[in-house]
């Protein structure tokens, strides 16, 4: 029966692709540029969701299917979804990121975090020491002694490696939340992975700002000013403050209106994104704080989660399929030995750092054995970081960007699969989407 259903889904995807490919050439309509993204969105939603269902049939997370569908339909392979479609749908991406950040904050329950506070801090610190520092040292050595990169200036190689260290340490709250939501995972492993991912996300923001200042100072030979550090702290505090305010506004809505919870969470994500852009603050941090406040400082957390559970599926399908479509594999050809080396080294370092952190904090055996699987994916935040680097240092930033996009492409596919396996082994999955 399941085999028959899978064949039916595959057949539907194939027919849909043929029909869509047949429609595309007729788009010489005067409204082409207006209609195209919505048409592509409709096609992508269906095809990516079917891809997700197929992935579930093979015991993989739905987001892997969404990503693979995006890659297949995107400019790298079939080119049914064009680059202009992807950029037109950018707003949906931003909305999805805010939604994911609110969800991430909402999933962090203070009560559960307190139980694992020691492990969370220990693992975060060990990631900083082992993953970040070792990556920098190791890759600086490799790149200065081999011709894997087309860069020879040691200062630039050092700058390149500092940012690679940050990339190695970064996690993907989006992928983590998507897998947890899909399998409704609950337990110490889930709480710990969430806690570390969120904490690392905030630390990455600070580290990136400091790294930018440091790299600029070594390239231009000017010292880092105190004002810069104060500005950085002020910026983060402002984002947290905005998050607090936004969280309390959300509480007021849930308390006094409490209707249309699904629509509210989507609109709140959109407004928060626009607000943050307008005020120039970190919107992911702001949304995480807002979600955290609603969950832990009011009695309205269940309402927020209800809204999230009703609306997450379309948002994730669009977000991950667009993410897949925007992955460019052409760079992989140029750097594949260095990229594969980096992915493998990162995996080993994450495994060692997580094990060490968990061991030192006397975490339960499931955390000790499997929690590393939750820290492999990196996506949205990493991508935003390399875009800024490319804009600031265009000559070598473009090499870093191509390199990191290839790394993301591999980690996005491998990470969620391993994370799902880890959740399965630790026994924290409470819902199997494809089992009755």
């Amino acid at each position: 029966m399941n085999k028959h259903r899978n064949r039916l889904i595959l057949l539907n995807i194939a027919i849909l692709c043929i029909l869509f490919a047949a429609i595309r050439p007729f788009q010489s309509h005067e409204n082409y540029h207006l209609i195209s993204p919505y048409l592509a969105l409709g096609f992508l939603v269906i095809a990516a969701h079917l891809g997700g269902l197929l992935a579930q049939a093979f015991a993989l997370p739905a987001l892997t299917g969404n990503l693979l569908a995006g890659i297949l339909l995107g400019p790298s392979v079939l080119n049914l979804i064009s680059l202009s479609d992807i950029s037109s749908l950018e707003l949906i991406n931003s909305l999805a990121l805010s939604f994911i950040a609110i969800t991430a904050g909402g999933e962090l329950k203070l009560k559960n975090l307190r139980k694992h506070a020691t492990s969370i801090f220990a693992i975060t610190i060990s990631h900083f020491i082992i993953v970040f520092s070792t990556s920098i040292a190791l890759f600086y050595y490799i790149f200065t002694h081999t011709a894997l990169l087309s860069i020879t200036d040691p200062t630039i190689i050092l700058s390149f490696c500092i940012f690679l260290g940050i990339v190695a340490m970064a996690k993907s709250p989006a992928a983590t939340i998507a897998v947890l939501n899909e399998f409704r995972a609950k337990g110490p492993f889930t709480d710990l992975v969430l806690g570390v991912t969120m904490l690392v996300d905030v630390i990455i923001l600070v580290m990136f700002a400091i790294a930018m200042a440091y790299v600029q100072s070594i390239i231009t030979h000017t010292p880092i000013s105190l004002i810069f550090l104060l500005e950085l702290i002020g910026h983060l505090l402002l984002s947290v403050g905005a998050g607090l305010m936004f969280g309390y506004l959300m509480i007021l809505f849930y308390k006094y209106i409490g209707r249309e919870l699904t629509l509210f969470i989507v609109i709140a994500s959109f407004i928060s994104h626009d607000m943050a852009q307008f005020a120039g603050i970190e919107h992911m941090l702001m949304c995480m704080v807002a979600g955290f406040i609603v969950q832990n400082f009011s009695r309205q957390g269940h309402r927020m989660i209800e809204g999230i559970e009703n609306s997450y599926l379309p948002i994730y399908v669009v977000f991950f399929s667009l993410a897949g479509a925007s992955l460019n594999f052409s760079h992989l050809k140029a750097f594949y030995p260095a990229v594969i080396l980096f992915v493998v080294v990162r995996l080993i370092l994450v495994l060692i750092a997580t094990y060490l952190g968990a061991y030192l904090s006397k975490a339960p055996p499931t955390i000790l054995k499997y929690s590393w699987t939750g820290f492999l994916t990196n996506a949205g935040l990493t991508l935003s970081i390399v875009i800024i680097i490319e804009n600031t240092f265009p000559d070598w930033g473009s090499i870093l960007m191509a390199f990191v996009i290839s790394v993301i492409a591999i980690n996005q596919i491998v990470g969620p699969v391993l994370f799902k396996l880890g959740l399965d082994k630790s026994g924290e999955i409470t819902r199997w989407p494809n089992r009755k």
Partner: protein, 351 residues
């Protein structure tokens, strides 16, 4: 102000405003048409809203589907023949006579679409006042709710008449392909969340494809709805999903319509709008008088309701959907005035 912000604003306004418009005690004077004026206000602001125009097509497809999903053949067979006879005679008369009169007023080909639009009756207003459960009352209300079916078929016949090759050939291919594809996709999933997601995707895909080929999204949506409700295992759930938040989504449609279509009036409009209103009032009076009005006040059947605007929009978009089209502004305002007269006088006569 950017277009996405306007869309979110429209959503917020629609979802909050709907509680004030459709209060149980009584309807507001325009029974929801107020949102069209919000759109008009936004139209006169200085920003490019053209990126929102493609969003009108999914709304039309959704409304067509909503009507089509109610046409289950097993239920239709059980209905009395008298209902079909009354429905056909009412539709034919309320289309043919006004078409001629609108043509005399000065409208060209649009007079047919305007007559089809003006043939519908606002179910919400009528049901608000006809509350008894007698057989005749139920018959009348059922008839009113069935008018949109006849209107869409009349619209399709009109499209076929004006451009036979395109509308028989392409529309037929669209209806067949969209229906089979929709059913195949929806039967391949096993959970309700997937059904919702696929419906969203299908409505976007089908309606925007209709936009590319200049095919009526309303008509295609209608036939896809009929096919799904008669063949798909998820039929009851699909109807619940499509019907859910119907009022709110319609309010969003009105805001977008006002924003996209805009308003243009000339000196000539001062004469044509009252003429259209008077024509509809007179024609409807005579038809209702000799048909099935017995026992109810005439004003209960004056308000044309939102579906009239849906029909007009479908044709306007097929003609290119140019903002500030004179005939469209006049037709829309005539319908708004008829709605106002209908709701206002229904309220007064019922007191």
């Amino acid at each position: 102000m950017n277009s996405s912000l306007v869309f979110v604003l429209a959503l917020i306004l629609a979802y909050t405003g709907v509680f004030f418009i459709f209060k149980r005690e009584r309807l507001t004077l325009l029974a929801g048409f107020e949102f069209l004026f919000i759109g008009y206000i936004l139209y006169f602001q200085d920003f490019d809203a053209s990126t929102l125009k493609p969003l009108l097509y999914p709304f039309l497809c959704w409304m067509g589907m909503l009507i089509g999903l109610q046409m289950r053949f097993s239920d239709l067979k059980k209905l009395p023949k008298s209902l079909y006879t009354t429905l056909i005679s009412f539709t034919l008369l309320t289309i043919i006579i006004p078409t001629g009169l609108f043509y005399l007023i000065g409208f060209s080909i649009q007079s047919v679409v305007m007559a089809i639009a003006c043939c519908s009756i606002c179910y919400r207003n009528t049901a608000h006042y006809i509350t008894n459960k007698e057989r005749h009352s139920r018959f009348v209300l059922f008839l009113i709710s069935a008018i949109p079916f006849a209107s869409i078929i009349a619209l399709l016949l009109f499209y076929i008449g004006t451009d036979p090759i395109r509308d028989i050939g392409i529309t037929l291919v669209f209806i067949v392909v969209s229906s089979i594809l929709s059913r195949a996709l929806l039967t391949s999933v096993q959970d309700k969340n997937s059904v919702i997601l696929l419906l969203i995707g299908l409505i976007l895909l089908v309606s925007e494809t209709c936009a590319v080929f200049d095919v009526s999204a309303l008509v295609v949506g209608f036939f896809v709805g009929i096919y799904l409700t008669n063949t798909c295992i998820w039929k009851t759930y699909i109807f619940r999903v499509v019907y859910h938040n119907e009022k709110q989504l319609f309010m969003v449609f009105l805001i977008l319509l006002g924003l996209m279509a805009g308003l243009k009036l000339e000196l000539l409009s001062a004469a044509r709008i009252p003429a259209v209103v008077l024509t509809v009032l007179a024609v409807r009076y005579f038809i209702l008088k000799f048909n099935f009005i017995a026992g109810f006040n005439y004003f209960y059947f004056v308000a044309p309701g939102g579906f009239a605007l849906v029909i007009l929009t479908d044709f306007w978009l097929k003609q290119g959907g140019i903002p500030g089209t004179l005939w469209f502004s006049e037709a829309t305002l005539s319908i708004v005035i008829l709605q106002l007269i209908g709701v206002l006088f229904s309220r007064q006569v019922s007191q």
